[in-house]
Symmetry: C2
Subunit: 470 residues, 2 copies
Amino acid sequence: MYIDNPAIYTDYYELTMAQGYFLSGVHKKQACFDYFFRKQPFDGGYTVFAGLTDLLKTLENYSFSEEELNYLKDQGFKQPFLDYLSDFRFKGTIWSVKEGELTFPVLPVIRVEGTLLETQVVETLLLNIINFQSLIATKAARMKVAAGNRTVLDFGLRRSQGLGGVHATRAAMIGGVDATSNVYSAFKYNLPVSGTMAHSWVQAFTDELTAFREYARHNPDDTALLVDTYDTLGSGVPNAITVAKEMEKSGHKLKAIRLDSGDLAYFSHQSRKMLDKAGLDYVKIAVSNQLDEYLIFSLITQKAPIDIFGVGTRLVTAQDSPALDGVYKLSETDHKPTLKISENIEKITLPGRKRILRYLNEDGTFYGDGIIRADEDAPERIYHPYFPAKKSYVGDIKHYELLGKVFENGNIIHSVSDVKESAAYCAQQLNKLSAEYKRFDNPHIYKVGISESLMILRDRLISTLKPDSL
Amino acid sequence: MYIDNPAIYTDYYELTMAQGYFLSGVHKKQACFDYFFRKQPFDGGYTVFAGLTDLLKTLENYSFSEEELNYLKDQGFKQPFLDYLSDFRFKGTIWSVKEGELTFPVLPVIRVEGTLLETQVVETLLLNIINFQSLIATKAARMKVAAGNRTVLDFGLRRSQGLGGVHATRAAMIGGVDATSNVYSAFKYNLPVSGTMAHSWVQAFTDELTAFREYARHNPDDTALLVDTYDTLGSGVPNAITVAKEMEKSGHKLKAIRLDSGDLAYFSHQSRKMLDKAGLDYVKIAVSNQLDEYLIFSLITQKAPIDIFGVGTRLVTAQDSPALDGVYKLSETDHKPTLKISENIEKITLPGRKRILRYLNEDGTFYGDGIIRADEDAPERIYHPYFPAKKSYVGDIKHYELLGKVFENGNIIHSVSDVKESAAYCAQQLNKLSAEYKRFDNPHIYKVGISESLMILRDRLISTLKPDSL
């Protein structure tokens, strides 16, 4: 699903500024904005970039309807500006990293070039889509890293932040989740969908065994029995075993049992023993109940015999860090570099049009990234963005460009990835990131540097705009 | 905005269960489900109920389109069931508390009655809408409680969880926020909208003073100047003062300045002094930057002269507690009470159809709530839900019914509240909740009890289903 009124899916100030630019006659000035974030979510070592295809498809259809223009008129917007908006289309040029790419703080992972008005007015839309999908793709990747080759399923729709569930599921799949319970997103984005029964199914029949039998009868090839409605080891697992043996007689196999409460390590061990003793070693064990990457890791450390992790709330809301702090900052107007100064060093922006170089170690793993001016050659050295005494020689290190042109003249300029391709790309890039960046506690900090030329430009602008800036 | 495909905006298992009920021939059995939550979000003292109107309007239009049925066919659903779905409408009866009502754990604040199939299949939809809107309405109410009579604005769209922003804003207004930057939600829900400029506006002109003058020229009656792009006290506030004095000459007044970084207590004090010294005591001070109820409270405690709080991420994502744990549990089938047992006492459900009585102190403030069986009279005593030795005599306490019938035969049965009415109701109810429930640290725990008759019913069912249940 894209947004039904994308042009007004925005902060009001984007429109008051757009009108102001128009009335001041500066709306056609050239401008360039960067999207970047300042801090890894989850105190983690990487962020999976996601949401680009949704953003670009929305921009292809970006326009103001008559109904929207009437609404803006009621808010006091002026007729000449509304007339201008009535046939406005976004014609800017967008450079971006790929969906599924691993990204790091400070990197300008999207660059939007065009007129001042068109680049400004899409800010909120871009931030809303990219911040959230990148956040959830990252959370999903962390869970998948913890789960290894076990299956991870998204069960989050009921606790997702309203309609946020639509894109949470899409992003989770890019990050590595295997399938979802969310039918809507599966339908819209062509994703694998999965699910069997709730406790209410068991309660709806006269007894648990009947409930299990009825489900198996209707779904002989796709039955997972929820065993904790009344008494997990006393009735749930024994009844599941009874039904599994009955299914065998008709040539079918019970797929799994699911545990949704109690101590999952204990119950999975006990259930596995009971199933194995009954000759049902093929029946998988699925678990759910407030899982996240830490609990998955803990269960695996305890050698809990779990095959499938159903994750919900903590995935789709990114519960421990529910927002990515991505921002969209003006870096150039009228082909002149600009920046914003702040009391907080990390909030001072990098001026001008920029490229990103990704450097590779000899084994193909990532060494680090360099941010350089768009018109300069690959530099000899890159410098810490805020502490230039820290620097690295990169003159002879293999590298490639991270940003590619993805949108021009109102259209997506080459085929953008679907979810499956982006998920495959993410998995491939995760393989190129060393384990120490992927651990959950105090991950190794990835090198991101800036070129000397970019540093000089920034520092000169600061000196001009605020000579006494300490 | 309602959901464009509500029938498949659901977990897959709702549909596999619906098909199973249909194939087993039990789909028309009578059933009753309760919606309730188990834990206050934010470790707070109350939860503001919200989302009902969106839910009910969605249910009025709930049906399966041909496109959706084809999709389900591709997933392996069976033709007789798909035929049944093709003219399926939700015809159940819904009882609910009002939007804006203050609610507490365990209370069955929504009761859905109807056939087993129809009451089951709306579960995820109901949970998705009500959990999120109640969460955000609660967060907003907390911020408004902290801000007192100062203005609170929602600036959260850029960091909201994707399309979750649509309903975050709606819910925030019910909780007490005064206006929003979110144009889309303002348009769809008729809410007051607000916003002026970002740092990019200031950067887009040759200098800050020109940028301020240009904005004021185009918006003489609605200008708030963002003063921290380069140097708050060195240039931002002095330039704002210059422009304010120029505005006075043409008969206009600068509305406000906005601070978005640095120490907001320090900068608001300094800015206030500078403005007052220039005779601009009418110019308001707005602040933003990662605010929540705790920071608002802290700023007020520091006597920071702030008039307007712009809140974003921490409001629209409910950052410190981003999900309400509301659940939807079967309480009756075939007119027989049912429950779910769990290892966790708090996860054992209350069987049967129930009513809620709200008891009032003599001064009109809330005393506590009682959950009783639907067919019993108001009881003499109510008991702690899990520890019956704790009980209260309520035989002579004034009370009223909390649940009202809101949906029947496919339609909303009396006019449901709009956002403005619900916000007014919420404010009124907050006035009836004593201060000790509203404080942020260790709030007083509100009394919620169950009747003896309900307790006996529950305990008897547990004994039958799981005699050894400790």
